[in-house]
Symmetry: C2
């Protein structure tokens, strides 16, 4: 639990995450991690090699992460054990730039052109851009580690990743997948992330299929229609959209339009290549469409979107709270409902975060059945979900 109000730099989080499981699934593929981020200082040595001069920590940050696994827990476990180390390494590699008033063009601090600082200033490059870059690189590095480890151990699977990092008076939220973080204040609910699903990333996914049609192996159509087309639609003019369109138009249906859609279904039922409900995350290097050789990975990105919150400037109060949760929570409770829950529970239960668990779980259970009513006729979906409250 992280108190915004008492000091500009939050106290270290507990050694194990304050995580609440909605307890709606027997087997949970989700993982969480949190801890202190100790960044050591390195210096550019005489032989142009990096030498660790002082092994003690130089900068301290805090790290919280949620990983929603699919196809087994292996990727989520690897991510929970690895991502923070990748991030620490990436931050240590640029730490000299992090502590400068403005990152120098050359990490050595050497000025090759007299106007180098001016070029950096004109591009508007700030220390926070190095943290964003470090988070982007860390997600990519962790994805590669997971790919290698899963292959070596003959395991499969993938996971989403939602990470919050507090460093130098700022809170960074990096998200790859359909988890979500919000900041709940007395008079405000501020979203700190966007969800990446086949629906929200439709144009990017369709464009890749347009540029590399061989990725669909002649089995899928990249076009979007209101529903999957069938024989009776042949020759009709039907609503559709392609990769370059935000609007809709009509096209005359031909045989190739009857193929299974690249993105199919609506809302929580939407699937990429009929297989995956998210379009960003870690792992899934071996994932293929059932009974085919069609790979999911080219369409999946491991790059997160990073949001930056200036904690110092926001004048956060004692009862301002960041809520991080996987889709198990957000599928059944709105931001407003979660904020209401947090605001009602916390004042009397500051010392006992687990008391939130009971209310949380019952709300998820209550909301569940209604939220599942879909006209597609597909069966109920379990609401396995994890939520973390940073306060």
């Amino acid at each position: 639990m992280w108190g915004f109000g008492d000091s500009p730099h939050p106290p270290p989080p507990p050694s194990h995450p304050g995580i609440i499981n909605a307890e709606k699934s027997e087997f949970n593929e989700d993982q969480a991690a949190c801890g202190k981020l100790c960044i050591r200082r390195c210096e550019f040595g005489a032989e142009e090699e990096w030498l660790t001069l002082c092994p003690e920590e130089f900068l301290t940050g805090h790290y919280w992460a949620l990983f929603d696994g699919h196809g087994g827990p292996a990727a989520a476990i690897l991510a929970a054990n690895t991502l923070h180390s990748c991030l620490r390494r990436q931050l240590e590699a640029v730490v000299e730039g992090l502590v400068a008033t403005r990152p120098p063009m050359h990490l050595s601090g050497r000025c090759i052109c007299p106007s180098d600082p001016q070029f950096v200033e004109e591009k508007g490059i700030k220390a926070e851009d190095l943290v964003i870059g470090a988070l982007e690189s860390a997600f990519q590095e962790c994805d590669e580690v997971i790919g290698r480890e899963l292959e070596a151990s003959g395991q499969v699977g993938g996971c989403t990743a939602l990470v919050a990092v507090s460093l130098q008076g700022k809170l960074y939220v990096a998200n790859a997948g359909d988890s979500r973080a919000i900041l709940v204040r007395r008079d405000e609910i501020r979203p700190l992330s966007s969800e990446f699903t086949p629906e929200t990333e439709r144009q990017r996914i369709q464009q890749l299929a347009f540029l590399y049609p061989e990725l669909l192996a002649g089995e899928f159509t990249r076009l979007e229609f209101p529903r999957r087309l069938k024989g009776d639609d042949l020759g009709q003019k039907v609503l559709f959209r392609d990769h370059h369109m935000r609007g809709w138009s009509y096209k005359r249906v031909d045989k190739s339009d009857l193929k299974y859609p690249l993105i199919h279904g609506q809302g929580r039922q939407a699937r990429l290549l009929g297989t995956l409900a998210v379009s960003r995350g870690l792992g899934d290097h071996q994932l293929r469409v059932l009974d085919t050789n069609i790979q999911l990975k080219p369409f999946l990105l491991s790059v997160p979107q990073v949001t930056v919150l200036d904690v110092d400037q926001l004048e956060l109060q004692e009862d301002d709270v960041v809520v991080m949760a996987t889709d198990g929570l957000w599928d059944v409770l709105s931001n407003e409902q979660v904020a209401w829950l947090v605001r009602s529970f916390l004042p009397g239960n500051q010392e006992d975060p687990h008391s939130l668990s009971a209310g949380w779980s019952s709300q998820v259970l209550e909301a569940g059945p209604d939220a599942d009513t879909q006209h597609t006729g597909e069966g109920r979906r379990s609401h396995s979900g994890r939520a973390g409250v940073l306060r």
Copy 2:
């Protein structure tokens, strides 16, 4: 001049555009067009062919457009003569959907599945999405026409395109390039478009070069650095970013990083492949990097971004004004300065739009020299620009 206040449907614009030239360049490559958009009704005939049953107009809209030419005026002239016809055709092709409460899944209105209307509703498809789709398709169709016409006549060139369409109580603003439209109200300045330049579209452009490195023919680097690198930077760790990065990181410079950058320069000096200042527009099918075979077109998009303004809901007043102008104006005057000019001039000069021209031109001339002060040492740039005021 288009009065919002007097009627929910604006009177037809004048037969020639109310366009003001800043008169700063002898030869103007820009073009403008405006007129009534008469959309005829078509019906799905017995032989599944489109037949024009009633040639009279069925829906009426209004159309204003600005085209900022480069490499000669040919593309801008073709766009000014063609785009409105493309748009009319695209709208006529979907007019049955436009006038329905909600566009039907099948243009014929025939329901193949009983739940077809529900699928359309779940996707949230509305009549305005068909207008957005028609604008997107019209830009693409017009781009193809320009490509064919220029090739046939041995001409070259390209242009940006900014289009405003008033239809069924909504104002649609479609933009491909670096022109801009704003709505100026008494207490509000509302941007109606975003600019598309090599800088604003960096990630899309870098990603295409990442997917198809052959497009750069080994002559350019897709990486972004604060400035172009040179021999002295070799072996140093330098700030950079790649297609997947919003943040910055450091990389050790190798020989391939010394190539000319895919996107080079800053602000108004930024160029795509050292050649073009915009990343969207019409034409340029033949444009190549000087003395090479490297084509610009794969990086250029003709697709516009479309903004929708609900004119009826906004309760626009008599003195609310839409300003559309090319970069010649926006390079030297801010939205706030333009709004101030419009608010000061119009009350006393409602009947004489040309009186705005004098003040406008003098402001552009006054602002010019300061706005040109760049440390890059490049020479002064002329401010040829066009502006239109819809009121």
